[in-house]
C-alpha cells in the first residue's frame, strides 16, 4: 500500500485502529486468493485494487470532490446508481464485510443485528474506512428491519436520503417505487447542483448497463465445464464492481471475460472437469467476506454462480435503453429494479424461479442457501426455497453464519458432508 497516511489523517480516520486492519487484510487475502492455482491474468487488476483498497479509489473520490463533484454512499442493489452518475456524481456501494468493524456497530446496535449492518455502522463510527468518511450523503433504504432502524441512528452522523422500498410488486408498488426514484432525483440534483436530463440519464443508463453486460459475460463463462475461473475470483470481481468507476469496471470485466472465453476454447479450467458445481444463494457477501466460498472451494468444489446481491441480483436484467424521455427512463429504471427478487418482498416466489433457472443454466450439482445470522427475511424464506428444491430433487443445504471465524471448522465439516453426497 502506497503512503496514504496524509489522506487518512485529513479524513479524520483513527490511524492506530486502521493499521490493525492493514495488517490483517493482506494476510487474509494472500491466504485465500494468492494460493489459488491458474488464476486468470485478468485478476491482476482486482488484486491491485485489493492491495490499494483504502488508497486508489478513495483518492479518486477525493479528487472528484476537489473538482466540485459529490459522492454518495449506498448500501443496497435497489438504489439506482444511474441517477447519481447522471448528475455527475459518484455512487459507491459501502456494505461492510469484515468482523473487524462489527464491535464498532455494537456500540449502538444490538448484538443480534446482522453482521453486515453492524459492520457498516461500525466502519463509520470507528473511522477506520475512508469509503465511509468521504461521502457527502448516504443513501439508505428500508429493505429490512435492521437497516430501516439503523439509519435512524446514523442519521445523526451523516446526511441520509432514504429510498422507501415497497414490500410487494403490484402495479401500484412499482408506481410507488417510480415516485421514489423521482424523489431521489430531486435530492441528487439538490446535492450536486446539476440538473438531470433525458440525455444525461440516458448516458448513465448505458454506462451501468455496460457494466451489467460485462459482468454477465464473466458469469456466462462460468457456465462452462471445466469452469475457467474460481468462485472466489468471480465474487471478488462483483464485490469491487460495487464501488469502482463503472466505465473502468466494465472494461476490466470485459478483459477478463475475453480471457475466460479463450480458456473455454482451450478447455482450460481451474477445477477438474468432474469437480462438484455449487450455487450459493441468499444474503450478500460484502468485501472482504470470502468465508463460504473459501470453505467450499478449498474442499475441491467450484462455486459457479451466486444468486445474491453480490451476484446475479446485481447485474441481471438491463434497463431499457430505448426509453428517450425522462419519464420513460424513470419508468424503465423502476421496471428493471423491481425485477430484482430480494426476500424483503412478499410473496417472493420469483426468487425460487431464479434459483431453478440458474441451477439449470450453470448446471449446478447442489445449492447452498446461506443467510447472515439474524436475517429473518432470508432465513424464513429458506424454507420455501428448500421445499421447491426438494420437489425438483435438487440437493439443497442451508447455512446460517456471520463474519467471525468461530464456526469455520463446523461449517467446513457440514459442507464436506454435503459435497460427499453430491460426489456419489
Amino acid at each position: 500500500m502506497a503512503d496514504y497516511k496524509q489522506m487518512w489523517t485529513d479524513l479524520g480516520m483513527d490511524l492506530e485502529k486502521h493499521d490493525v486492519l492493514c495488517e490483517v487484510l493482506p494476510e487474509a487475502f494472500g491466504g485465500i486468493y494468492l494460493t489459488q492455482q491458474d488464476r486468470p491474468k485478468g485478476m491482476d487488476f482486482y488484486d491491485f485494487v485489493v492491495s490499494e483498497i483504502h488508497g486508489v479509489r478513495p483518492a479518486e473520490m477525493l479528487q472528484h470532490q476537489k473538482e466540485g463533484g459529490k459522492v454518495f454512499g449506498t448500501f443496497c442493489v435497489y438504489v439506482p446508481d444511474e441517477v447519481v452518475f447522471a448528475a455527475g456524481g459518484i455512487a459507491a456501494g459501502l456494505c461492510g464485510g469484515s468482523q473487524f468493524w462489527v464491535s464498532g456497530g455494537e456500540k449502538v446496535l444490538p448484538a443480534n443485528t446482522c453482521s453486515l449492518i453492524k459492520a457498516s455502522v461500525g466502519a463509520r463510527l470507528d473511522k477506520t474506512c475512508p469509503f465511509f468518511l468521504i461521502p457527502d450523503m448516504y443513501v439508505g433504504e428500508n429493505t429490512c428491519d435492521g437497516k430501516k432502524k439503523a439509519w435512524e441512528i446514523l442519521a445523526g452522523e451523516v446526511p441520509i436520503h432514504i429510498i422507501d422500498i415497497p414490500q410487494m410488486k403490484r402495479e401500484r408498488d412499482i408506481a410507488a417505487y417510480e415516485a421514489e426514484i423521482r424523489d431521489f432525483i430531486a435530492t441528487v440534483e439538490k446535492v450536486t447542483g446539476n440538473k438531470i436530463t433525458a440525455e444525461s440519464l440516458g448516458a448513465a443508463i448505458k454506462l451501468i448497463n455496460n457494466k451489467r453486460r460485462a459482468l454477465q459475460r464473466v458469469y456466462n463463462a462460468r457456465k462452462a465445464s471445466p469452469v475457467p475461473i474460481s468462485g472466489l475470483d468471480a465474487l471478488l470481481v462483483t464485490q469491487i464492481n460495487f464501488y469502482d468507476d463503472p466505465a473502468r469496471a466494465a472494461q476490466m470485466a470485459n478483459n477478463l471475460a475475453e480471457e475466460l472465453e479463450q480458456r473455454i476454447e482451450n478447455g482450460l479450467g481451474v477445477f477438474p472437469d468432474k469437480a462438484v458445481r455449487i450455487m450459493v444463494s441468499g444474503t450478500p457477501m460484502a468485501i472482504p467476506n470470502w468465508k463460504l466460498h473459501h470453505i467450499i472451494e478449498s474442499l475441491g468444489a467450484a462455486v459457479v454462480v451466486e444468486e445474491s446481491c453480490t451476484g446475479t441480483r446485481y447485474f441481471e436484467n438491463l434497463v431499457d435503453e430505448s426509453a428517450s424521455t425522462l419519464e420513460e427512463q424513470i419508468r424503465a429504471l423502476a421496471e428493471r429494479y423491481m425485477k430484482t427478487n430480494c426476500a424483503c418482498f412478499t410473496p417472493n416466489s420469483a426468487r425460487v424461479e431464479d434459483i431453478i433457472r440458474l441451477a439449470d443454466e450453470y448446471k449446478v450439482d447442489g445449492i447452498i442457501d446461506t443467510n447472515l445470522q439474524f436475517c429473518n427475511l432470508y432465513s424464513t424464506e429458506s424454507h420455501l426455497v428448500k421445499q421447491s428444491m426438494n420437489e425438483r430433487n435438487l440437493p439443497f443445504m442451508h447455512i446460517e453464519t456471520d463474519y467471525s471465524e468461530q464456526d469455520f471448522e463446523q461449517l467446513r465439516t457440514r459442507v464436506e458432508a454435503f459435497l460427499e453426497i453430491l460426489r456419489k
Binding site: 430501516k148 432502524k149 410507488a176 421514489e180 429473518n376 427475511l377 432465513s379
Partner: protein, 378 residues
C-alpha cells in the same frame, strides 16, 4: 368490588369461545388478526367477529420451528405453531386471516401460513411521515374492504364503517379510562389486573358488553378511594406486545414488591389516544389517519412513541422503565437505544430486557429487575 370485574375479564376467553362457536353455527364469520394495525372497524362493519390470534404460549413453538428459523421472535413462532398444529380454537374458527408487513418475521411467516388458511396481507408502509406512505395505506384499507366483501359475501357501507369506528373509539376510551386509574398512588389495579382486562379485548365478540364492563370497573374503582394496596416503586413497561401467557416480567416485578403502573406496549396504551374522526367525509381516509399514527417501532421514524412515553412517564409518575424486547425482534431492540436515552434524560432507571417465552431465564430476569428497583430512590 374490583375482583368481580376482574373475574369477568379473566373468563372472557372461555365465554367468548363458546359464543364464537355458536355464532359460527348460525353462519356468522370470524376473522383472525395478529396486530393493532389491522382496522377492526372493517371486520365489524362486515358483521364478522375480529379475534386476536397472537400466540402467547411457549407450547407450540417447537412445532413451529420445524418450519420457521429458531432465531425468529417467539410471538411469530408461537402464533404459527398454534396455526399449524391447529391447537388454537380461535384460529380454527377463523374464515380469513389478516396479516400486515409490520416486521420481517411476520411478513415472511404469512407466506408460509397461506398453506393453512386464506391470508390477506396488508402492505404497511415503512415511513410514518410521507404522503406516499399515507396514500399507500389508504389504498391498502380500501383493498381490505373489497377482500372482506368478497370473502364474506357482504357489502360494507360507509355507514357500517362509521358505526364501527364509533364503537372502537368508545372501546379505546373505556380501556384508556381503566389504565388511567393507575395514575393515583397507590395504583388500584395491579399489572396483572390491567393486562387481564386489556387482553380480554382480543377475544370479545360483543364490544358493547366489553365497554360496559370496563366502564363498570372504572366506576367501581372511582367510588373506592382507599383501594387497600400499598405504595411501592412505580414501573412503566414498554416494548414488544405482552399478553396473558407471556406476563413473566410483570409477575416478577410485582413479586419483587413494585407496581407495574402502566404499559405502553400495543396490548396496552399505545393506540388508546388515537380516536377516529367520525365527522370526516371518507371513512377509509379517517381510519388510515388513526392507524398510521400508531407508534410501533416498525415505523421509521417513530417520534410519537417517544412523545407518548414522555407524557406517560409524567402522567403515571413512573419511577423506572422496563423495556422488553422479545428475542430476534430487531425493530424494538434497535429502538431501545432511543428509549434508553429518553428515560435516562428524565433521570429514571432504565432496564432493557431481551427474553423469550420460556421460563429458563426467570432467575436472571428477577436479579436484574431487583437490581434496577434498588436504584429507585425511596
Amino acid at each position: 368490588m374490583l375482583d368481580e370485574f376482574m373475574e369477568g375479564f379473566a373468563s372472557a376467553r372461555e365465554v367468548n369461545l363458546m359464543r364464537i362457536k355458536e355464532a359460527k353455527d348460525n353462519g356468522l364469520k370470524v376473522v383472525g388478526i395478529y396486530c393493532t394495525y389491522c382496522p377492526q372497524e372493517l371486520i365489524l362493519a362486515a358483521g364478522a367477529i375480529p379475534v386476536g390470534l397472537c400466540g402467547m404460549s411457549e407450547n407450540p413453538i417447537a412445532i413451529a420451528e420445524e418450519t420457521l428459523p429458531r432465531n425468529l421472535c417467539p410471538l411469530v413462532k408461537s402464533s404459527y405453531g398454534f396455526a399449524v398444529s391447529d391447537t388454537c380454537p380461535f384460529f380454527h374458527f377463523s374464515d380469513l386471516i389478516i396479516g400486515e408487513t409490520t416486521c420481517d418475521g411476520k411478513k415472511k411467516m404469512f407466506e408460509i401460513m397461506r398453506d393453512l388458511k386464506p391470508v390477506h396481507v396488508m402492505q404497511l408502509p415503512h415511513l410514518s411521515n410521507t404522503k406516499a406512505s399515507f396514500d399507500l395505506w389508504v389504498e391498502e384499507i380500501r383493498c381490505l374492504r373489497s377482500r372482506l366483501e368478497q370473502e364474506l359475501q357482504v357489502t360494507i357501507s360507509d355507514q357500517d364503517i362509521w358505526a364501527a369506528a364509533e364503537m372502537i373509539n368508545k372501546e379505546k376510551k373505556a380501556i384508556k379510562a381503566m389504565f388511567d386509574l393507575n395514575r393515583v398512588d397507590p395504583p388500584p389495579l395491579s399489572g396483572m389486573d390491567m393486562l387481564t382486562a386489556a387482553w380480554s379485548r382480543s377475544f370479545s365478540s360483543n364490544k358493547v358488553e366489553m365497554v360496559d364492563n370496563l366502564n363498570g370497573l372504572v366506576r367501581e374503582a372511582a367510588n373506592q378511594p382507599k383501594n387497600g394496596r400499598t405504595k411501592a416503586s412505580r414501573v412503566l413497561l414498554t416494548g414488544c406486545p405482552v399478553g396473558l401467557g407471556t406476563e413473566k416480567v410483570i409477575r416478577l416485578t410485582e413479586e419483587l414488591g413494585a407496581n407495574i403502573v402502566a404499559m405502553e406496549n400495543c396490548s396496552g396504551y399505545k393506540t388508546l389516544e388515537l380516536q377516529t374522526d367520525i365527522q370526516g367525509t371518507d371513512p377509509i381516509v379517517e381510519l388510515a389517519k388513526t392507524y398510521m399514527a400508531i407508534p410501533c417501532s416498525c415505523m421509521s421514524p417513530n417520534p410519537y412513541r417517544m412523545e407518548l412515553l414522555n407524557s406517560m412517564l409524567d402522567d403515571f409518575r413512573a419511577d423506572a422503565v422496563i423495556d422488553l424486547t422479545w428475542q430476534a425482534c430487531h425493530t424494538y431492540n434497535i429502538e431501545a437505544f432511543e428509549v434508553g436515552k429518553l428515560v435516562k434524560s428524565k433521570g429514571l432507571p432504565y432496564l432493557h430486557l431481551e427474553s423469550d417465552y420460556s421460563n429458563s431465564d426467570l432467575e436472571s430476569l428477577k436479579v436484574r429487575i431487583e437490581a434496577m428497583l434498588e436504584m429507585v430512590e425511596k
